[in-house]
Symmetry: C2
Subunit: 359 residues, 2 copies
DNA sequence: CAGCATGACTGAAGCGCTTCAGGAGCGCTA
DNA sequence: TAGCGCTCCTGAAGCGCTTCAGTCATGCTG
């Protein structure tokens, strides 16, 4: 079994078998124009019959100083992460971009600290890292810096020397709040995903609202609350529930709490569509009608938002573009480019049937 | 900028700075017991001040002939893949297992062929591959074989020399069908995810039902149809809709078609919970009640199945275990073990409120 | 004090590949 | 036929690390 692994053919094996130099065999794979096509054919044929599957990726990476992979760092474990389709869409955009350039994707799931363990990051074979929604000051980010790897940041910490793609979270949230205000609502509730990476769900105390390490949460919550305040609604009178993740079930739980406050809010602002879907479910549980008894708005505009019952009023952000852009940036940095100015993608309010004037 | 990358310190840099041999510096990182702790401290300290972030992962991989990564091959692109929480759960189980052993996860999304492109597989830096639900004969599998990498297969092709973890799909499907038969149903419809990797959705013709390359689809569909036949229901009289993926929206589409056949089926068998949720939605769209007008059963028992409206009768499979087991197998193969006998996980029917006797 | 473990460190041989400065051969031109 | 520019191929120097067989003091035993 030792010999199993040891006996694998290498470039030299093939070179010897064909009777050419190792460089020539290498060229057969990487620079077809450097040798006659007949020789190339002969080399490839011999390689095949020897069971040689092409240049070893690791050795090639060492020699070229490039591992042709982009690392993707997540704030959470995978199951939590993918319960929100927003991430899948972003990741798909990213994956198809880098895949098209023959790069692969190394996933680094996070743990309780709100990011991957630094040791994972130090050992990851990737030559550019993408940070997705990590909290400010995540240790993983130090590990990236220590390795001197180029970094592209989606949606989160503002770091020197990193490429960024983000979305007008504050503006979008603000528009959603203004929409509700415009409909005459006076009593609100806010349902947000994690403000802190500690895995806590529950009503949000005053101090927990400040110093929020997740920028996205901070901006959306801020956009909601500031706008309400400008509209004459005291933030202190707005109950806020923090769900530790962004999925329906957690949303349902939080919404139930919000919908049973006295007096009951007539409008709910949610920081994601998933949470909003949970809220729709909670309303059904409580036999409240949406938007009759209570208006609900989401954030993201995932495809399903158009089909929910009722269809969701939400803030659209271009998720696939976000991923694609991140992929492009990663590739650019890899090519030696300096981080360009941050890409800021637009958001827009999509009015559907889950909001209505206060009755 | 050239120099930026070139100037990165290496083991030698640190060795020279401290005045020891390179081997000693290497030992400082990998075998603390091989040197005095005071020297080790000094080395680490110097490394830090030099901006050396630890041994280069690629070089280390080459020297150790191990890249400490497991490759994960998917049948589809990422966005489609993750719209079904079942995959997230499996992947999370896998990720936490391998992560615990300091291995990382390389994702290889598939394309229209039903698996990752072979070139991606040939170049992936992983020393064991796991195939998730790939179709039989996927080209990616040849690429794995060509490289001589150990392989663990989840849910799909039966390959010589691979470790396997699978689920009693046929048995589970059969139990679901028997349950419905026992409730007195006579007219059925089947809603399945992809039978073929060609991205086609629609009613399933007779020939398309045979030679199904996805084993899971084959077994579940077979389990449904065979059991119905034994119960006296001709498979040819059972309309089958194939959705190209496993998400709600596709399920809703297919279910709408199935629910508008004449005569209308009184029971729907779905190959996944996501499709079943779509069916629940379709019923609402058509103002049919579940289970009053039509019974619906799913497959997987994802967490949400317990909370849907109505809660879903479904076939439970241990998703997280599946992922964990795959991770363990991968690690075992890496350690040089031979593929053990296939792990077959049990399924069981969970009766909830989406099925009822025929009225 | 000879003999011998033991602990601490080193030299050098790889790991499998890419790349670049040439060299050899060959058909053209002037 | 000298000279030139091609095309096709090679030699050798790395890429940054691990590992294993030693070497060299040092302290301990009998």
């Amino acid at each position: 079994m030792e010999s199993d692994r040891r006996r694998r053919p290498t470039l030299d094996t093939v070179a010897a078998a064909v009777g050419v130099s190792r460089a020539t065999v290498s060229n057969a794979y990487n620079r077809p124009d450097q040798l006659s096509s007949s020789l190339r054919e002969r080399i490839l044929e011999t390689a095949r019959s020897l069971g040689y599957a092409g240049p070893d990726p690791v050795a090639r990476s060492l020699a070229t100083r490039s591992s042709a992979a982009v690392g993707f760092m997540l704030p959470q474990g995978l199951s939590g992460a993918f319960s929100d389709p927003a991430l899948s869409i972003v990741l798909d955009g990213l994956a198809s971009t880098v895949d098209g350039h023959d790069h692969s994707l190394v996933l680094m799931p996070g743990d309780a600290t709100g990011g991957p363990r630094p040791s994972i990051v130090s050992r990851a074979q990737a030559d550019v890292m993408v940070a997705y929604s990590l909290p400010d000051l995540a240790p993983a980010l130090d590990a990236v810096a220590a390795r001197g790897l180029p970094l592209v940041v989606i949606d989160q910490p503002v770091l020197p020397d990193s490429a960024r793609v983000e979305v007008q979270d504050y503006t979008g949230a603000s528009a959603a709040a203004a929409h509700l205000l415009g409909l005459g609502h006076l009593r609100f509730g806010v349902l947000t995903f994690a403000l802190h990476p500690d895995g806590v769900s529950g009503p949000v105390s005053h101090e927990r609202r400040s110093a929020v390490p997740f920028r996205v949460s901070r901006d959306r919550l801020g956009g909601y609350l500031d706008t309400l305040e400008k509209g004459g609604v005291k933030p202190d009178n707005v109950p806020v529930w923090e769900a530790r993740g962004s999925d329906r079930e957690l949303g349902r739980l939080g919404a139930r709490w919000l919908m049973t406050r006295t007096p009951r809010p007539s409008a709910l602002l949610c920081t994601s569509d998933q949470l909003a879907f949970g809220a729709l479910q909670a309303a059904r549980d409580l036999t409240l009608t949406v938007p009759g008894d209570i208006s609900v708005v989401g954030f993201d505009d995932v495809p399903e938002a158009a089909y929910s019952d009722p269809p969701l009023t939400t803030v659209r952000q271009p998720l696939a573009d976000k991923g694609r852009r991140a992929g492009e940036l990663a590739l650019e940095l890899l090519a030696g480019g300096r981080p360009p100015r941050p890409t800021r993608l637009d958001v827009s309010l999509v009015e559907r049937a889950s909001t209505a004037p206060r009755t």
